[in-house]
Symmetry: C2
Subunit: 205 residues, 2 copies
């Protein structure tokens, strides 16, 4: 099942998710409407309601897909990099890539709107941060054992600081349209756990 129409343009549901994701990351969940998505896709809002009964359901689906993709990326980092410093650098790059598209982290954006979010979306946002924290904590612990990192406190607290710091760095850097501002804050954060970033993926000539 689902074999044709795979090549140029996925099925409608995933195209809706693509546009919805972009809109939430750039304008926020309260900053876009079904009408915006429909216009972008040249379909009607009625079609939208066929695929996602309401905005809350669309929101849930957006977080679910984003989280899967994000944690897949974390698994890929585990597979490709072995040391804690390299893993942390790759983790930072995940965020930088999002910011380069002038977007915020989906869940960072939703965290700012948390009080106005439909209930089911709230839990999903929390879960996203929890899983980030778990992954980072593991990396931190490993780095401590091998001596690759120097932490002044518990691994869990360092992990939380990194998540908070990166989310905040995206938030503040975006209005300036300045990815370097994010990168410099991220470097500072990594330096504080003992990761030297002097040789950064040299900004292409």
């Amino acid at each position: 099942m689902a074999r044709a129409q795979q090549h140029l343009g996925a099925d409608t549901a995933s195209r809706i998710l693509d546009i919805g994701e972009e809109l939430v990351q750039t304008r926020g969940f309260n900053g876009f409407s079904y009408g915006d998505v429909a216009a972008d896709l040249k379909i009607t809002t009625a079609t939208l309601h066929y695929h996602f009964p309401g905005k809350a359901e669309l929101g849930r689906a957006l977080i679910a897909r984003y989280a899967v993709r994000f944690f897949d990326a974390l698994s890929a980092i585990d597979a490709r990099h072995s040391g804690a410093p390299a893993r942390l650098q790759a983790y930072v790059d995940l965020y930088a890539t999002v910011l380069r598209e002038r977007r915020l982290c989906l869940c960072g954006m939703l965290a700012s709107e948390y009080n106005t979010l439909p209930e089911p979306m709230r839990d999903a946002v929390i879960q996203f941060f929890d899983e980030n924290e778990r992954w980072l904590t593991r990396v931190m612990e490993q780095g401590c054992e091998t001596g690759a990192l120097r932490l002044s406190g518990p691994a869990r607290e360092a992990a939380r600081m990194i998540v908070c710091g990166l989310e905040g760095a995206m938030l503040v850097a975006r209005p300036y349209g300045d990815v370097a501002r994010f990168q410099s804050a991220a470097d500072c954060l990594l330096a504080s756990v003992g990761v030297s970033t002097s040789l950064h993926p040299a900004p292409a000539r």
Copy 2:
């Protein structure tokens, strides 16, 4: 001029600003309406339009008042504390106080909505962050000279990391309803510039 009606309940304009501020900090600029403010104040939206012609003007006024109050607080810190470590702790407390009321920094919230903000509000948000950075940079430089701080890079970059880190810590901690989560991230950030926070304003028994 303006002498009566000062005691119980300020004039209408500032009561509008009070409610507006709370709504932006808790729900975001796109998450509240003139109707919400009017209902809270038991006035009509027409009255609101008399004091603030449109939502954009109300937004500008909100940032302006917030910024004045915030930078007054920074001056007060300069006056009351002399060492860089004490000043940084007091700076963190400014944020913690906001979060305890389950609010975000007004400009942190607006930064997340930056793309949807009326033009005049955007500049004001940027200015707020610039001034924060300037103040922190001065504190950092002073702390370096006296040897009270240990920075691994330029003072300006450390300042940016602190702003980003604190904004992000508020953002992430609020969904958890957990001020301790903020405090722990803040302590980590301060530790990274050489401020020891072992003896914190002990959480009342």
